[in-house]
Symmetry: C2
Amino acid sequence: MAAAFRLFLERGYEQTTVDDIVALAGVGRRSFFRYFPSKEDVVFPDHERCLADMTAFLAAGADDEPVHRVCDAARLVLLMYTENPAFSVQRYRLTRQVPGLRAYELSVVWRYERAMAGYLRARFAGLRDGTLRADVIAAAVVAAHNNALRSWLRADGKGDAEAAVDHALEHVRAAFGSAAVPPVTEGPDDVVVIVSRRGAPLWRVVQELETALGRG
Amino acid sequence: MAAAFRLFLERGYEQTTVDDIVALAGVGRRSFFRYFPSKEDVVFPDHERCLADMTAFLAAGADDEPVHRVCDAARLVLLMYTENPAFSVQRYRLTRQVPGLRAYELSVVWRYERAMAGYLRARFAGLRDGTLRADVIAAAVVAAHNNALRSWLRADGKGDAEAAVDHALEHVRAAFGSAAVPPVTEGPDDVVVIVSRRGAPLWRVVQELETALGRG
DNA sequence: ACCCGGCACGGAACTCAGTACCGTCACAGC
DNA sequence: GCTGTGACGGTACTGAGTTCCGTGCCGGGT
């Protein structure tokens, strides 16, 4: 990885062949592909682990409010970037100007988004437009996260990335948090809602209330 | 293109080499790459034109309400798919199971999204969190569009794609549109009773309330 | 009729990523 | 000692994409 990044920064990504890297690193060409399935993977060494962390994180918690949970999952990705700001900034500059790397990054981001959407789809299962909401919210969360992350990266890693992402995610939660938070199916055992036309006879309302509370 | 798709459907995308295609089509290998910059481009022949159409469409109108305009831009893409349902369904099936094609499609979708986001950024210039809003809304519109489009494609192109996309986009507009119309038609006449056991999280109460009010 | 400009096409050879196969070496166990 | 196992490296291959060059075609000018 060190050899690869040295060459990438010296003469560019596409001008660097795998043979160059392994020659500088003093290892065999075959060994390179043992550790990195493709040349692009050298640039994104930790995404695979981060993706696994996220899926585990999402699989773990189902008691939280869904959108909140997904926002926290996004913060996991941010952590990976802020752990090593200098590296992240270098990689960002590289990715921005090499189409192949951009395409690869897109596919990685897409997997994050699908993980979130899958989680939300499960939480929204059975609801009206459940998958639609899941997909839209996942996309919005990813977009907000990336917006904040990229402006942090453009600023060479200066500034408070966490605060920026928090602010961006809050923006999403404001749009979807209250207006688009769907109901849960398993709700009725602890929350009961009765809707009644004004003018409906009182006894009917009371009856609904009593059956809802199981005291009927 | 005809030769390529015949072979792709017969023996799969990755099992088909460019040499196979040009042999069947009776043209030179060099000519293939003259018309299609890469093997993937054979599968998405019309996206480049559609992308140009969209940027032109967005550049043309600045009097409309921004989100509405972007939704109409998304409908342009849908049109390209519905123009040739059989082809679109075949391509969808191919794209779904070939990782390379999926990555390519992602980069195409990304360019659509960036076109929309660029338009919105210009319209939101000077506003508080303008670029953030632009990015999030563009992502949401794309996600909603793709959700509806994909379910239409999964149904082999049966059903009303326009209606599905309209419904999905309306969902986004309800969350982001400046002129969001409250969906409560007979609200003032309704009475809502919520009963919550002690300890129920607030978000669940909100969810139930929203379901009851039909704001799903 | 002749030449000449551009141009679409095709072929041959090349680069490079990624893969398949195989040989080597170190190290563990009995 | 022998043998299995696992990490490593080399060789040769496939296939995408590029570069260079040669060829035939067509229109216009002289």
